[in-house]
């Protein structure tokens, strides 16, 4: 085979790859582009476009001003940030504590506890939702953001697995040396393990921060007061409350989704490296 033929074949192969990637890339970006376009669209003022090429391509911020003026979006945003920050802090703490105990310490009930956690994780969350609601009601906590924080972080310990997997890979020699030097376990935890576990901490923080932004089912059962909605439930209700609400509010919904998506994209992109590290280091092992 002469060299130019090899070169040609490689070139052709690459061209084909580029073509496939481009087509797929467009398919993946198109719906998001459609969402962004709808968010900025001014005409027609509501509803969804029903022609491939809209007659009028004017853009503006009308949907955003409607979003912030006519709906309680700002308030929902505040609620969500509050719930996300609190529940993320609590869940991260819980996950780190459980992972450390189960990964670095050895005690009689360790294996049984791990088995129980595994079994608990197998029940679908929806099943117990109504019972959770009534427990909260008995505690006088329904219709409060505190309830949401408690529910989101209360079951956090169940997702310790990835974090523990990461802790398992940290060599023991260091902490053994520290303990010989008289360090207590809390010191080992704070000074040695946590600094080494930065990627997995970022991963845990990120996932637990994002989940309140996406959940609407639990919020839907626990919260009925419009003032206390989180963004996801607010947006969901915006287009699902009544028969016609979709067509009336679709552009505003897109504007809201754009804001939420923007926040999450920013977070995600700035932390992407850690996210990938977290996923690959903790969850996948041969």
């Amino acid at each position: 085979m002469n060299r130019s033929l090899v070169k040609f074949r490689r070139g052709a192969g690459n061209a084909l790859t580029y073509a496939v990637l481009a087509v797929l890339g467009i398919l993946w970006v198109l719906p998001i582009g459609y969402l962004i376009y709808t968010a900025f669209r001014t005409t027609p003022s509501t509803g969804i476009i029903n022609s491939l090429f809209p007659d009028d391509l004017r853009l503006g911020f009308g949907n955003f001003s409607r979003l912030f003026a006519d709906t309680m979006f700002l308030r929902w945003l505040g609620n969500t940030v509050l719930v996300a920050v609190c529940s993320c802090a609590l869940s991260t703490l819980f996950i780190l504590m459980v992972s450390y105990a189960l990964s670095r310490m050895r005690f009689r009930l360790r294996k049984p506890i791990m088995n129980v956690l595994l079994v608990l994780n197998m029940f679908p969350g929806f099943m117990s939702m109504i019972a959770v609601y009534f427990i909260l009601k008995a505690m006088g906590l329904t219709n409060s953001l505190l309830a949401l924080i408690l529910v989101y972080s209360g079951s956090a310990a169940l997702s310790y697995y990835i974090c523990k997997g990461f802790f398992d890979t940290i060599p023991r020699a260091m902490e053994e040396a520290a303990i010989l030097d008289g360090a207590s376990q809390p010191m080992v935890f704070w000074r040695i393990i946590l600094p080494l576990a930065k990627p997995i901490i970022v991963y845990t923080v990120l996932t637990s921060f994002i989940s309140p932004w996406c959940d609407f089912i639990f919020v839907n059962t626990i919260i009925s007061d419009r003032e206390l909605y989180t963004v996801s439930l607010g947006l969901y209700k915006m287009i699902n409350a009544e028969k016609n609400s979709f067509n009336d509010n679709f552009t505003v919904f897109c504007a809201g989704a754009f804001v939420v998506g923007g926040i999450i994209v920013t977070l995600f992109m700035s932390m992407q490296r850690y996210y990938v590290e977290g996923v690959t280091s903790g969850s996948v092992k041969g």
């Binding site: 790859t17 890339g25 398919l27 022609s51 679908p124 099943m127 109504i130 996948v284």
Partner: protein
């Protein structure tokens, strides 16, 4: 190795400890079987002893004034008998409003009380064991630990106790108690016809299981509906998992191919899809695929992409799997691009020297390696898809309604998974919590079986010390 030795040493159970504590313990220890904290206070561990005493007092008061009643209810198999309503009062000659029993609360508080009893038993055992340990120390001529020393122990060898206590308290309240409660519901007739506070419900044994699994037809047996939902759940989980997996790996391979430029840009194109909240993209897709949606406008067709009932709702089912590809592939892409870069280059070199084509390299080198490493991931994904509520609920809502399914009051629809069916049964106008609970138990059995397979197949559970 170390683990195994330890196991042998610590196997003797709590019971043996307790029995020997009663047999060989001092009178202080024996007394602390009945009066918590006595053994501690008698030996000068005042704070610890007082804490135990406080626990006992609070628990006793709770049982007398609140919990005891519900425990009795629960064990006598009686979930309340008094209906609330109006009762004729002879003396005053008026109807009086009477607050009746609430089966729901009786069951809920019963469960809470039982959980508290278990908690108390654990404290009680710890109390006896602590006192017995004091005996041993005194006999060996050592001093009893002071409170300060106890605290130091908690910060060292027993550091796991403070670490685990708070997260587990959360689990207990928000996961364990609700689950126990809902499992119990599966054995009652709690449905729209027996809704507290107006009505009472009662234990019915296994009759809900019979309803779900029997064929008797009419309104009583859901067996055929159940099997069809189960089958679709598995078909869906299979396709959702494997389409995502293979497409993700292939796209990752394309991006990482030698000579392809702007790798980061290509990856970002796909990864952006992760960042948009799922419910947003799903609602958007639902609208695009709607009968009046933009897809029909572009194609000039008039197809109900998400509501066509023909051929067992084939089109909606396909659309769900396609949309799920859009949602899920970026995750696989992200995960697999990390692993692909770690495949040892020698493998490829060797294959190339042997003259293998790109396709053969893919099937004989890349895929086996990927599959070997990611089997646990695949199985968790499969379980995740069995429980994938969002995609189905937001796209079709479980629909379209199809008489074969809806018949017999099962309320199942044609693209329902077990979870969405469960959800509909609990949120419908005419909820049937009892049947929903049975479905929940079925889902649990399926997921647990899969999890056991994962655990036995992978070394990650056994080899947790490998890297240390």
């Amino acid at each position: 190795m170390k683990e195994r030795e330890k196991k042998k040493r610590t196997k003797p159970s709590v019971w043996k400890d307790l029995i020997s504590a009663f047999r060989y313990g001092s009178y202080q220890t024996r007394l602390s079987f009945f009066s918590l904290g006595f053994g501690q206070i008698a030996r000068g561990q005042v704070i610890k002893g007082l804490l135990y005493m406080l626990t006992q007092t609070v628990f006793t008061l709770f049982m007398i004034f609140f919990g005891g009643r519900y425990i009795v209810h629960l064990f006598s198999g009686d979930l309340g008998s008094k209906l609330s309503g109006e009762v004729w009062n002879e003396e005053l000659q008026i109807f009086e409003k009477v607050k009746g029993d609430n089966s729901f609360l009786i069951l809920l508080y019963g469960v809470v009380s039982i959980v508290l009893i278990f908690f108390y038993l654990a404290v009680w055992a710890a109390n006896v064991k602590g006192s017995y340990e004091n005996d041993k120390r005194i006999r060996a001529g050592e001093k009893v630990r002071t409170f300060k020393e106890d605290l130091r122990l908690l910060a060292n060898e027993k550091f796991y106790q403070p670490l685990l206590s708070l997260p587990f308290a959360g689990l207990l309240v928000f996961t364990v108690m609700p689950l126990v409660f809902m499992v119990l519901i599966a054995f009652t007739n709690y449905d729209y016809a027996h809704m507290p506070p107006g009505k009472l419900f009662d234990w019915v044994g296994l009759s809900n299981f019979k309803t779900l699994f029997s064929l008797s037809g009419g309104t009583s047996g859901f067996a055929i509906v159940f099997l069809r939902v189960l089958l679709w759940t598995f078909v869906w989980a299979f396709f959702a998992t494997f389409t995502n997996y293979f497409l993700g790996v292939i796209i990752a391979l394309l991006i990482h191919k030698k000579g392809i430029k702007l790798k980061a840009l290509w990856r970002t194109l796909f990864v952006v899809a992760i960042a948009v909240p799922q419910f947003v993209t799903l609602l958007l897709m639902q609208k695009i695929l709607d009968g009046d949606g933009i897809l029909n406008k572009i194609l000039g067709t008039n197809i109900l992409w998400l509501a066509d009932q023909r051929n067992f709702s084939l089109i909606p089912r396909l659309m769900i799997i396609l949309v799920n590809i859009w949602i899920g592939v970026p995750y696989t892409l992200l995960m697999s691009s990390g692993i692909l870069m770690n495949i040892p280059a020698d493998y490829y070199e060797a294959a190339r020297i042997d003259g293998a084509s790109a396709v053969r390299i893919f099937f004989n080198v890349t895929m086996p390696y990927m599959l070997h490493i990611t089997t646990p991931y695949l199985i968790t994904q499969f379980v995740g898809n069995i429980n994938n509520f969002n995609v189905i609920w937001l796209l079709t809502g479980g629909g379209p309604v199809d008489n074969l399914y809806y018949g017999g009051g099962s309320q199942a629809q044609s693209t329902d998974l077990l979870v969405t069916w469960l959800y509909r049964l609990t949120t419908d106008q005419n909820p049937r919590y009892n049947v929903a609970s049975v479905i929940g138990i079925v889902i649990f059995v399926i997921s647990a079986t899969m999890a056991l397979i994962t655990y036995n197949r992978t070394s990650s559970a056994k080899g947790e010390d490998t890297f240390q």
